[in-house]
C-alpha cells in the first residue's frame, strides 16, 4: 500500500486542520476529478483524527494513513463526487492586448456567450465552473439571440470611452442673459427633454435584472446607457435653470406616452419602441435644438446628449435587427406592440402643446409675428424630418417600406 499512487501531493508541514491547512487541501482537491487521489504529507498528529472526520463531512473518501521512512504521515484522500463544479476549467486563455489595452470586445471574443443560459447558475460569471445545487434565479432573458447582439461589447467599449461630465465639460460660465420669452421657451423645452430622459433611465433598469449574467455585456451596456440618461437629466435641468428660465409644464400627453413605455414587459419590444423609434426621433429633435440654439451652452448640451443618443439608437437597432434575423415572428409582434401603444394614445392629437410653443419660439429667435411664422414653419419641417428618418431607420432594422411608413405614422406624437 505504501505506493498507492496519488495524482497530487501537498506538503502540510505541521499545520493543523484549523491553522490554514485547508487552504492547501481544498484547492488541490479542486484540481482532481472525482476519485482522484491527493496525498497530504504532514507531521501534525492531530490530523490523524481530524482529516478523516473532515473528509466524512465533506464527502471525500479518506483512504488511509501511510507511515513513511521519514517522520511524517502520508494521508491519502480521494475526491468525492458531491458538489463537483460543472463545466470545463478555464485554462490557456490569455486575453489579447492592443497597445496595452484590454477591451470588452476582446473579452467577449475570448469567452463567447452560450446560445442558451441556465438560470440556476445565478450570478456566476460566464466561464466560472458552477457548483450544482444552487437556487434558480428569476432571470427570464436566457437566449443569446434575443438579448445580446454581437456588437454589444464594442458598443460598451465606445460608451465607456465617451463618458463626459455634466458639471465640468459644459462652458456654464458662457450662459448669456436672454430675453425672458426665449429663456422661458428654453425652460419648457428642457423640461420636456428631462421628463423623457427619466423614462429612458427607468425603462432599461427594468430589464437589467432579467438578463442572465452570461450576457452581462448587455447589462453593462445598459448601465452605461442609464449613466448617460442620468447625465442628460442633470445637464438639461441645469440648462433650464442656469439663465433663470426655470422649469415649464409637464403635459398629460407626455405622461400618457411615457407610461405606455414604462409598462412594456418584453425586452425587444422595449428596445424597439424606446431606442429605435423614441430615441431615434429624439436625434432629430436634438439636432433641431442645436441648430436653433440661442447660445453656445445650449448648443453644447444638446450636441453632447445627441452623441450619446446615437449610441443608444445604434444598440437598439442592432438588438432588434439581430433578433429579427433569428425570429421571423418578431416583425408582427413589434408591429402589434406599436399598434397597441398607438391605441392607448388614440385620444392624443399632436405633440404636447407647451413643447410645440417652446420649439417654435426657439426656432423663431424672437416673438415678433414674422419670426414666429418662420419658427412655426421650422417646427413643421421638423415633424417631417422626424418621419423621414424614422422610416429610414425602420427599413434599416429590416422592415419593408410599407411597414416602415405605417409604423412611423403610428409612432407617438410625444416623439418618445
Amino acid at each position: 500500500m505504501q505506493n498507492e499512487n496519488a495524482a497530487l501531493a501537498i506538503d502540510g508541514g505541521d499545520l493543523a486542520l484549523g491553522a490554514g491547512l485547508l487552504a492547501l487541501i481544498r484547492p488541490a482537491l479542486d484540481l482532481l476529478e472525482p476519485g482522484g487521489v491527493l496525498a497530504v504529507n504532514s507531521v501534525n498528529q492531530a490530523l490523524r483524527d481530524d482529516l478523516p472526520r473532515w473528509c466524512q463531512l465533506q464527502h471525500h473518501e479518506y483512504r488511509e494513513r501511510q507511515k513513511t521512512d521519514q517522520d511524517y504521515d502520508r494521508h491519502l484522500i480521494a475526491r468525492g463526487s458531491l458538489s463537483v463544479p460543472l463545466g470545463e476549467r478555464e485554462s490557456g486563455i490569455t486575453l489579447p492586448q492592443h497597445e496595452g489595452h484590454i477591451s470588452a470586445e476582446d473579452v467577449l471574443n475570448s469567452i463567447p456567450m452560450p446560445e442558451h443560459a441556465d438560470p440556476t447558475s445565478g450570478f456566476a460569471p460566464r466561464g466560472a465552473r458552477v457548483e450544482p445545487g444552487g437556487p434558480r434565479y428569476p432571470f427570464s432573458l436566457l437566449d443569446r439571440e434575443h438579448v445580446a447582439p454581437p456588437e454589444v461589447a464594442k458598443l460598451y467599449d465606445q460608451a465607456i470611452a465617451a463618458q463626459w461630465n455634466a458639471n465640468t465639460d459644459i462652458p456654464w460660465d458662457k450662459t448669456p442673459k436672454l430675453p425672458d420669452a426665449i429663456e422661458r421657451a428654453l425652460g419648457q423645452v428642457f423640461t420636456f427633454l428631462a421628463e423623457n430622459e427619466l423614462s429612458a433611465l427607468y425603462l432599461p433598469s427594468k430589464f437589467i435584472s432579467r438578463i442572465h449574467p452570461s450576457y452581462v455585456e448587455t447589462a453593462m451596456f445598459l448601465s452605461t446607457q442609464m449613466a448617460d440618461e442620468a447625465r442628460h437629466i442633470d445637464v438639461f435641468l441645469k440648462r433650464a435653470r442656469a439663465g433663470g428660465g426655470g422649469l415649464g409644464v409637464s403635459s398629460a400627453t407626455t405622461s400618457q406616452s411615457l407610461l405606455s413605455l414604462l409598462e412594456l414587459e418584453d425586452f425587444t419590444e422595449a428596445a424597439f419602441l424606446l431606442s429605435v423609434l423614441g430615441e431615434g426621433t429624439f436625434l432629430d429633435l436634438l439636432t433641431f435644438i442645436e441648430d436653433h440654439a440661442p447660445d453656445e451652452v445650449t448648443a453644447e448640451v444638446v450636441r453632447r446628449a445627441r452623441n450619446d443618443e446615437a449610441r443608444h439608437v445604434h444598440f437598439g437597432l442592432v438588438h432588434v435587427r439581430h433578433a429579427l434575423v433569428h425570429d421571423e415572428s418578431l416583425y408582427s409582434r413589434l408591429e402589434a406592440a406599436v399598434r397597441r401603444r398607438a391605441a392607448t394614445l388614440s385620444n392624443v392629437g399632436g405633440a404636447p402643446e407647451p413643447l410645440q410653443d417652446g420649439l417654435t419660439v426657439l426656432a423663431a429667435g424672437s416673438t415678433t409675428a414674422k419670426a414666429i411664422g418662420r419658427g412655426h414653419d421650422a417646427f413643421r419641417e421638423l415633424l417631417h424630418t422626424m418621419h423621414e428618418s424614422r422610416v429610414k431607420r425602420l427599413e434599416h432594422a429590416g422592415f419593408t417600406v410599407e411597414q416602415a411608413q405605417t409604423l412611423s405614422d403610428l409612432h407617438t406624437p410625444n416623439f418618445m
Binding site: 499545520l15 493543523a16 486542520l17 484549523g18 491553522a19 485547508l22 492531530a46 483524527d49 481530524d50 472526520r53 473532515w54 466524512q56 463531512l57 464527502h59 458531491l82 458538489s83 440556476t120 450544482p132 445545487g133 444552487g134 437556487p135 434558480r136
Partner: protein, 268 residues
C-alpha cells in the same frame, strides 16, 4: 386531516428548525407521504408523547433514541439517520501551554464540559475517559449546563467549552468532533493556543424513531420520501444543508452501545 398523515415530532432548538421541517413537510406532501410536524421545547416531552402514541415519528438525539429503546424493550423501530450522525467522536482539546500531554494529566486540572444531557460534550467523553482510567473525582470539572433539555443540539455548551479553554478558565475541554472540525474549518480556532489531545471511540448520533405498532404504510411512505431527498436538487439541498447532512442513511444500532453503558453507570 386524514389518518394517512404522518405526524412527526422535532425539538425546536433553533429558529431554523421551523424552516427545515416546513421544507421537509412540503417535500413529503409532494411525494406521496402526507406529513405534518409538531415542535417540542425539549426531548423529554417528545419521547413521552411518542411513547403515548401522540406523534408517529420522533427525530431524536442519541440520548432520546436510547431512552425510547429502553422504554419499549428494544421494540421501537429506527428509520434513518444522517451521514453526519455516523462515527461521531468526542475530543479532548487542551491548551498548548497547559502541560497536559496525556489524558491522565487531566487529573488535577480544570476540564470544561458541556451540558449534562449532551452526548458528545459531556456524557460520552467522561464515560470514555473513565474507561481509560482517568479518575474523574480528581479532575476539576467546569460545567456548562446550557440549553438543558435540548441534548446538546444547540452546540452552545460546546462553544462555551472552546471559549473557556481559549481564555484560560480551563486547561482542557470536551467537545464533539463535528463542532471541532467545523470550527476549525471556519477559521474560528486559534491553533497556536489549542490542540486536540485525544479522540474517543466512535459513536452514532441522531435517529428517527417510531413505535413498533405504527402503520406499515406510514413507515414505507416516510422512508421513500426521506431517502428521495438528494443533494443535487436545489430545493432538497437547501434543507439538507440546514439540517447538516448530505445524505440520509439507513439506521444502525451498534453506534449506541457506549451510550447505553454510560447511562447504566453515570459519570458526574
Amino acid at each position: 386531516m386524514s389518518d394517512e398523515t404522518i405526524l412527526l415530532g422535532a425539538v425546536a432548538y433553533d429558529a431554523k428548525v421551523v424552516t427545515i421541517w416546513e421544507g421537509i413537510r412540503d417535500h413529503f406532501n409532494q411525494n406521496g407521504a402526507p406529513m405534518d410536524f409538531v415542535l417540542f421545547s425539549n426531548y423529554e416531552r417528545q419521547v413521552e408523547l411518542l411513547l403515548k402514541g401522540h406523534i408517529d415519528v420522533a427525530w431524536n438525539t442519541p440520548l432520546a433514541h436510547v431512552r425510547v429503546q429502553q422504554q419499549t424493550d428494544n421494540r421501537s423501530i429506527s428509520l434513518g439517520t444522517r451521514d453526519s450522525d455516523q462515527d461521531f467522536h468526542s475530543r479532548v482539546v487542551v491548551r498548548n501551554d497547559s502541560g497536559i500531554e496525556s489524558i491522565k494529566d487531566l487529573e488535577g486540572k480544570t476540564l470544561a464540559v458541556g451540558s449534562r444531557d449532551s452526548t458528545q460534550a459531556r456524557i460520552l467523553p467522561l464515560h470514555f475517559l473513565r474507561a481509560e482510567g482517568v479518575e474523574l473525582t480528581k479532575v476539576n470539572l467546569l460545567k456548562f449546563d446550557t440549553d438543558v433539555g435540548k441534548h446538546g443540539d444547540t452546540g452552545t455548551s460546546e462553544i462555551d467549552v472552546l471559549e473557556a479553554v481559549a481564555d484560560g478558565r480551563a486547561q482542557a475541554g470536551t467537545v464533539g468532533d463535528l463542532i471541532w472540525v467545523n470550527e476549525q474549518s471556519a477559521g474560528h480556532v486559534d491553533a497556536n493556543l489549542i490542540r486536540s489531545l485525544w479522540t474517543t471511540p466512535p459513536f452514532d448520533h441522531c435517529m428517527f424513531d417510531v413505535l413498533p405498532d405504527l402503520d406499515a404504510g406510514k413507515i414505507e411512505r416516510f422512508k421513500k420520501a426521506l431517502f428521495g431527498m438528494t443533494w443535487d436538487v436545489p430545493e432538497h439541498r437547501r434543507l439538507l444543508e440546514l439540517e447538516g447532512l448530505k445524505v440520509w442513511m439507513p439506521p444502525r444500532e451498534d453506534g449506541y452501545n457506549s451510550l447505553r453503558d454510560a447511562l447504566a453507570s453515570p459519570t458526574p
